[in-house]
Symmetry: C2
Subunit: 297 residues, 2 copies
DNA sequence: CGTGACTTTGAGCCAGGTCAATACCGGTGG
DNA sequence: CCACCGGTATTGACCTGGCTCAAAGTCACG
C-alpha cells in the first residue's frame, strides 16, 4: 500500500544502480532494505549460471512492509510491478459482481503477486496480509528489460508465468472433480510440501487463515472445513486444535487425497486395488460416528 | 501428431526466411500452407504498429492439419512449440492419477495450445481435435527470439500468457462458487461471445462437444448438463436440439448466470433488488415442472 | 437394419449446504 | 480480578442440488 499511495514516485524506487548502503539511507519510510538480483533468484528458485554477468550487475530492488490485515493492492488499480513475498502470509482474493469474495491463493515466501495484471495492465485481484509481511518490489518494465539483455532471465520469467498457469490448472481440476475430504487433504499436503520446501516443519504448522477463507479457497463452506478437519482428527490422521495442525500420517493422507466425487471416467478399471482402497478409506464420517459411539458407551 | 512423430526433423520446419511459394512446395505431407507474422498477429488480436520492422521480415510459420478424433499431442511429451488454432475445434484435457479425464478447455480459432509446457518443458495436458483442424506451429524458441529483437512482440507474449492466467483464474472462481445453472449459462454465453468475436453468429451455433465433455469442463455430470439445458429450453431462454443451440434471450441469460450456490459473502447487502432478482430467477426446475404439468393436463 | 455412441428422463439417495445453538478465545474496561 | 463482547470454531438437525443408477429414445454409420 505504501507504494500504491504515491504512484507518482514510481521511478525513484525502481531498480537502482547503487550500493546497498547508499540505498538503505534513502529517506522513504517504506524502504527498510534492498535486495540484489542474486537474492531474488535464490528466493524464486531460479537457477542462473553462477558466472553469469547478470549477477554481477549492481541492481537492487526495494522492500516494503505490510502490517497484518492491510491490503497490499486492490482490484482495478493499474499494474506496474510484481511483488515477491520475502516473509509473511497473505491471501489473494477476487471480488465478484455481487461483492462476494473468493480466495484465489495463500501466497507465502517465494511466491509472486500481481501476475494477473500483466494482461490488461489492471489488477484483477487483491492481496491482503494475514500476518506482517515483507515484500520485494519488482517493477515489471525493469524485469522485462533484464530479460532482454539476459536470456536466462527471460526464460525465468516465462517459466514463472508458466508455473502459475499450471498451478491454476491444477486447482481447477481439484475444484472440478474431487470430494470435500480430498480437497481438504490436498490442501493440507500442499501446505506441508510448501513448508518443507521453505525449510519449516512439514508435519507441524499453523494455519494463518480462517476456516471461512479455506472454504472459499476450496469451494466449500466453513462448516464443511471444520467438520472435515474434525473427522481427519478423530480417525487419527491429523491432530487439529484451532489453527494448529499436526499431520500424523502423511502417507495415509496422500492415499486419501485421491478419491474423487464425480465423473469417474474409467469405472471398469477401478475394480481392483483402486476400489478396495476407496472402500477402506471412504466411509470417513460413518467410521467416525462408530468411534464416537464406542467412546460414549 | 505429425510433428511429434518425428521430432528430429524439428529444425527444418521452424520459421524459415523464404517466400510462401517456395515454402509451399516443400515435400512434407503436413505442410499444406505457411503463414507470415502479420497473419499470426491478426489471428491473436495483437496490435503491432503497422510500420513496425517486424512485419516486413519474411518469416513464415508452418501449418498442420489434424483430423477429427486425433490427438495433436499427448501428456508428458517434450515441449518445443505452441500451436495457434487457425480453424476447427478441439478439447484440451488432463488425465489424473486414476486415468480420469478432465476437460480444461475447448480451444478454437485464435486460441493457443501447449502453454502449460513452458514451465517444465513437458506437456501436462493433451489436445484432441473435435473436428478437422488447421493449426499453425509456433516454435517457442523462435518466438522468444522474435521477442528479444522486437519489444512489441515480447510484450505480446507476456500478455498472451497473462490472458491465459486470467482465464484459468476465472474458471476457478466459477467452479468454486456457482450453481449448475449458472455454470451452464456462463458456458453458453462465453461460447456466444467467442463466436461473435470470431465473426460467427452469437445466437445460433453448434456445440462440437458431448454433454459428457461439457460436464467434465464445468465440474458436473452429463445428466446435470442435459437436464439444465432442457430446463433452459422449457422456460424459453434457449432452444436446444442435440448439439444445436439457439439463445433466445441473451439479457435474461446474463442476469441468470449470476446467482451463486455457496459462500454468499455479503448476505445483508443482498436484500434489495438483488434478492428479488434471485427469487424470480431461481426456481427454474420447479417452474419447469409446473409448466409440464399444465402441458400434460 | 442392427449396433454403438450419445442424449434424455425418471426415481432415489447422499454429500454438503443451511440454519441455529453453543463454545472458545483474546481483548477491553470497570 | 472478573464480566463482557465480538469474532471464530464446533457441532447438531435438517434440507436440497446434483450425483447415481437405470431405462428408453435418437441418431450416425456400416
Amino acid at each position: 500500500m505504501y507504494l500504491v499511495e504515491n504512484p507518482e514516485s514510481y521511478p525513484t524506487y525502481s531498480a537502482t544502480v547503487t550500493s546497498i548502503n547508499e540505498a538503505k539511507v534513502g529517506g522513504q519510510k517504506k524502504c527498510k532494505h534492498w535486495s540484489n538480483l542474486k537474492e531474488i533468484c535464490n528466493l524464486l528458485h531460479i537457477s542462473v549460471p553462477l558466472n553469469s554477468s547478470i549477477l554481477s550487475e549492481e541492481i537492487y530492488f526495494q522492500h516494503v512492509q505490510v502490517k497484518a490485515g492491510n491490503s497490499v493492492f486492490r482490484m482495478g488499480q493499474p499494474f506496474k510491478m510484481l511483488y515477491i513475498v520475502n516473509s509473511g502470509f497473505l491471501k489473494s482474493t477476487m471480488i465478484d459482481e455481487h461483492g462476494n469474495e473468493q480466495v484465489l491463493n495463500f501466497p507465502m515466501k517465494s511466491d509472486l503477486l500481481c501476475m494477473d495484471g500483466i494482461y490488461s495492465n489492471r489488477l484483477t485481484s487483491e492481496a491482503i496480509a494475514l500476518t506482517d509481511c515483507d515484500l520485494i518490489i519488482l517493477p515489471f518494465e525493469q524485469l522485462a528489460l533484464l530479460g532482454r539483455s539476459h536470456v536466462e532471465m527471460e526464460g525465468a520469467i516465462y517459466r514463472i508465468m508458466g508455473r502459475e498457469l499450471i498451478r491454476e490448472q491444477t486447482m481447477r481440476v481439484i475444484l472440478g472433480s474431487s470430494s470435500a475430504e480430498a480437497r481438504v487433504t490436498r490442501f493440507l499436503l500442499a501446505l506441508s510440501d510448501k513448508f518443507s520446501l521453505l525449510g519449516y516443519s512439514s508435519k507441524i504448522f499453523n494455519l494463518r487463515m480462517s476456516r471461512q477463507e479455506i472454504g472459499s479457497y476450496l469451494g466449500l463452506t466453513l462448516e464443511t472445513i471444520s467438520r472435515t478437519l474434525s473427522s481427519l482428527n478423530s480417525i487419527g490422521l491429523i491432530v487439529v486444535d484451532r489453527k494448529s495442525i499436526e499431520l500424523k500420517d502423511i502417507d495415509a493422507l496422500r492415499a486419501f487425497r485421491k478419491h474423487l466425487s464425480i465423473n469417474p471416467y474409467s469405472k471398469k478399471e477401478q475394480s481392483g486395488m483402486q476400489k478396495m482402497m476407496i472402500n477402506s478409506l471412504l466411509p470417513l464420517a460413518s467410521r467416525l460416528k462408530g468411534q464416537e459411539i464406542c467412546a460414549a458407551s
